[in-house]
């Protein structure tokens, strides 16, 4: 099969570029530690009362570490608001009670699908004080556009504002 010389160069350039992209992605995972949502466990969505999600909320694990359990349902997050001091690291365990929802924290690398039957997990460090919305980004019925939560990161800048 005849391949034109210029086209051969083009194909090599394209392959090298895509190879560099792949290497950059591998670096983002193995060197910079970006984590993707991965299976952490299953749950019966009709029986959350008998699971770790029976009482959703924030737990202080000490040393600036927190664990949050959040339940998404049509059309709110439980709990709706979380307060943590600046510099803390929160391990979010999230699931859905009914249909699919989304979990997106503004200005932070947290982006999860919440599916009934699956526990989704993400670890987020809050370095900046401020109010960040948790947005449900997966269509979940007519109230979808009003489904959100808030993470208040309290620090030197907002300490005076909070009650």
């Amino acid at each position: 099969m005849h391949i034109d010389e210029l086209e051969r160069y083009w194909l090599i350039a394209v392959s090298v570029t895509l190879g560099v992209f792949t290497a950059a992605l591998l670096a983002s995972v193995f060197i910079f530690g970006v984590r993707l949502p991965s299976p952490v466990g299953r749950i019966d969505p009709t029986d959350l009362a008998n699971t770790e999600f029976a009482e959703p909320g924030l737990r202080d694990m000490g040393n600036g570490q927190y664990t949050a359990h959040i339940v998404a349902q049509m059309w709110n997050f439980m709990p709706r608001e979380i307060r943590v001091p600046v510099g803390s690291e929160v391990l979010f365990n999230v699931t859905s009670r009914d249909i699919s929802h989304g979990f997106f924290i503004e200005a932070h690398n947290a982006n999860l699908m919440l599916l009934p039957g699956q526990i989704a997990q993400v670890r987020v460090k809050f370095d900046r004080p401020g109010e960040f919305h948790i947005i449900c980004h997966e269509y979940c019925g007519p109230g979808h556009q009003n489904m959100f939560g808030v993470i208040i990161v309290e620090g030197p800048a907002t300490a005076g504002l909070s009650e």
């Binding site: 995972v29 009709t46 009934p116 980004h137």
Partner: protein, 570 residues
């Protein structure tokens, strides 16, 4: 050697008029193109109104503004997605594939099968229009479980799929009969690509057929009450990514086999075109998990494998960029273009058929690069389900594919009617408003997405939108307005051509009757390519299904009507 001599079948090729159509051709292809434009008219008009609904400035300026369907965001969005992405495309692809196959191979498509296929698909269209317009199917075009729509929605989808299978079978039969009569000959590149497209389609629709027939349809009829949402999503995206190549390949057929002639030149390389199509067949199926990067039930290893394969499936598109680009350069230099880049500007800017395809390519550059960003699994965390995603696929599906289909319509519709296009100027204005509108819309949506605006959300009144996202969503409504003008120009020209055009039709469609004899014949060893495809599917998808199926508890997620926060119980 056969002992009994069978009566020799006539192998005289069917003769098609050079300009104009046979009656059988006009009817069978005509109903598909008209049905496609009918479906598109519902979908295309919803689009601009959704950009208005998503613009906080607009919603605050006109809080009382309510038009049935148009203003009910999720109903309109379901209509927009289902009509544009599933029905317009499928009707158009089937009609166009029949046209190209018949004309290239000079053999008719089996008319009975063609009409049965059309009947099934058209009935499906009717049922879906009923389900969506009566507000019983607000499940968007991805119809994820455990949200449930009315049964007519799923039956409509099944009829569309089965109809397209029958159409595919009719195309295969025509090809095989041609092959038998022309041993050792290369099939024309256009038909080669259409065969690739149909093989891919028959394989990928199995995923969505399983999802609908075993989960969604039984549930909507009241026989099933639990499901597994992760499995449903995996089945959908087994189908969902090849679906985008099902749309793209017919556009590539036009770019590879028609545009070079329309632009005044010839195709640079027939063989590498074939290689690109074979790569699209092999690599469009084992990549669907790139839609599931944020899903909790799929392992990071599977996500990584699908990422690499997604980069591989970008290669045939880069090859297409070179091949089609070189063909356009050749055509322009023949007309006297000078300098290294002079050919870019020396195109046939007065021919709407050419300009529509070039406009599609301009948008496809944005679509291709944003697609590579989406495919990058860790970058995707910043973008999954934000407005960036629809910005991306309005450059690919809404840009490259739709504009190319519109370009094809600008010669095919006049050919069906036997009259020239109503207005070339209107068509040119339509194409450029489409390109500009899509760029404004896409830039606004993409930037708002990076700022955190979610996709598929009626965000005009949302309490959580930040200022950056609000500003750019408002700007994308301007794009929506330009696109509304473009859509009106498109339909004015369609109606004008069908009803008011008086000029005679004198355009000969560029159809090749044979393939390049220098192209390697092994590229037509379909058994080999299908085998490799199935092998890659097994490697890439088996782990996904094994890890997402819950072998311990079975299905345990109840179904829901999206309007009510309580499960559907027996």
């Amino acid at each position: 050697m056969q002992a009994v001599q069978l009566p020799q079948r006539s192998s005289a090729p069917m003769v098609f008029p050079r300009v104009g159509m046979l009656t059988s051709e006009r009817w069978l292809i005509g109903v598909h193109i008209i049905s496609a434009l009918f479906a598109l008219s519902f979908g295309i008009l919803m689009g601009p109104f959704q950009t208005f609904r998503r613009a906080p400035a607009f919603v605050h300026a006109f809080p009382e503004w309510q038009i049935p369907v148009f203003s009910y965001y999720y109903q309109a969005l379901t209509m927009h997605g289902v009509m544009n992405a599933l029905f317009f495309t499928t009707f158009f692809i089937v009609g166009f594939s029949y046209f190209v196959t018949q004309r290239s191979l000079q053999r008719p498509i089996n008319q009975t099968m063609g009409w049965i296929a059309f009947g099934l698909m058209f009935l499906g269209l009717g049922l879906i229009l009923y389900a969506i317009s009566t507000n019983q199917a607000n499940v968007l075009y991805t119809f994820y479980s455990p949200m449930l729509a009315h049964a007519t929605f799923y039956i409509g989808l099944v009829l569309l799929a089965v109809g397209s299978w029958v159409a595919g079978a009719a195309i295969f039969m025509t090809y095989l009969a041609w092959k038998k009569e022309h041993p050792g000959e290369r099939v024309p590149l256009a038909v080669f690509a259409i065969i690739v497209n149909q093989i891919m389609w028959q394989i990928c629709t199995i995923g969505v057929a399983i999802e609908i027939l075993t989960l969604l349809l039984p549930a909507s009829l009241g026989f099933l009450f639990v499901t597994d949402v992760q499995v449903g999503r995996a089945l959908f995206w087994f189908f969902g990514h090849p679906l985008v190549y099902f749309w793209l390949i017919p556009a590539y057929v036009s770019w590879y086999t028609m545009l070079p002639t329309q632009a005044g030149g010839k195709l640079f390389s027939d063989s590498l075109g074939r290689v690109a199509f074979i790569m699209l067949l092999i690599f469009s199926l084992p990549v669907g998990v790139h839609h599931l990067y944020a899903d909790p039930g799929v392992s990071a290893v599977s996500k990584g494998i699908h990422t690499v394969l997604t980069f591989v499936v970008a290669i045939p598109s880069f090859m297409t960029a070179f091949n089609v680009g070189a063909s356009l350069e050749y055509a322009a230099r023949k007309r006297g273009a000078r300098g290294p880049l002079g050919w870019l500007f020396r195109q046939k800017w007065s021919d709407p058929v050419v300009v529509a395809q070039l406009g599609g390519m301009i948008l496809f550059i944005m679509g291709g690069f944003s697609g590579l960003i989406n495919a990058s699994l860790t970058l995707n965390i910043a973008l999954h389900n934000t407005a960036w995603i629809p910005a991306h696929f309005h450059m690919t599906l809404g840009g490259a594919v739709t504009l190319t289909y519109i370009g094809i319509t600008y010669w095919l519709l006049p050919m069906l009617r036997g009259r020239a296009l109503f207005s070339n100027k209107m068509a040119l204005a339509q194409v450029w408003t489409w390109v500009v509108g899509m760029l404004i819309f896409g830039h606004g949506m993409g930037t708002a997405g990076i700022a955190g605006a979610p996709r598929r959300t009626d965000v005009g009144m949302s309490p959580y939108l930040n200022e950056t996202a609000t500003f750019w969503l408002n700007s994308s409504a301007i794009g929506g307005f330009v696109l509304l003008i473009s859509s009106i120009l498109l339909y004015a020209n369609v109606v004008g051509t069908l009803a008011f055009s008086t000029k005679p039709y004198d355009y000969e469609p560029p159809i090749a009757h044979r393939g390049d004899p220098n192209s390697p014949l092994w590229l037509e060893r379909w058994g080999l390519w299908i085998g490799i495809t199935l092998f890659l599917i097994l490697i890439a998808w088996a782990p996904v299904f094994v890890e997402s199926l819950n072998f311990v508890d079975g299905f345990n997620a109840p179904f829901f009507n999206p309007a009510r926060p309580s499960p559907i119980t027996p």
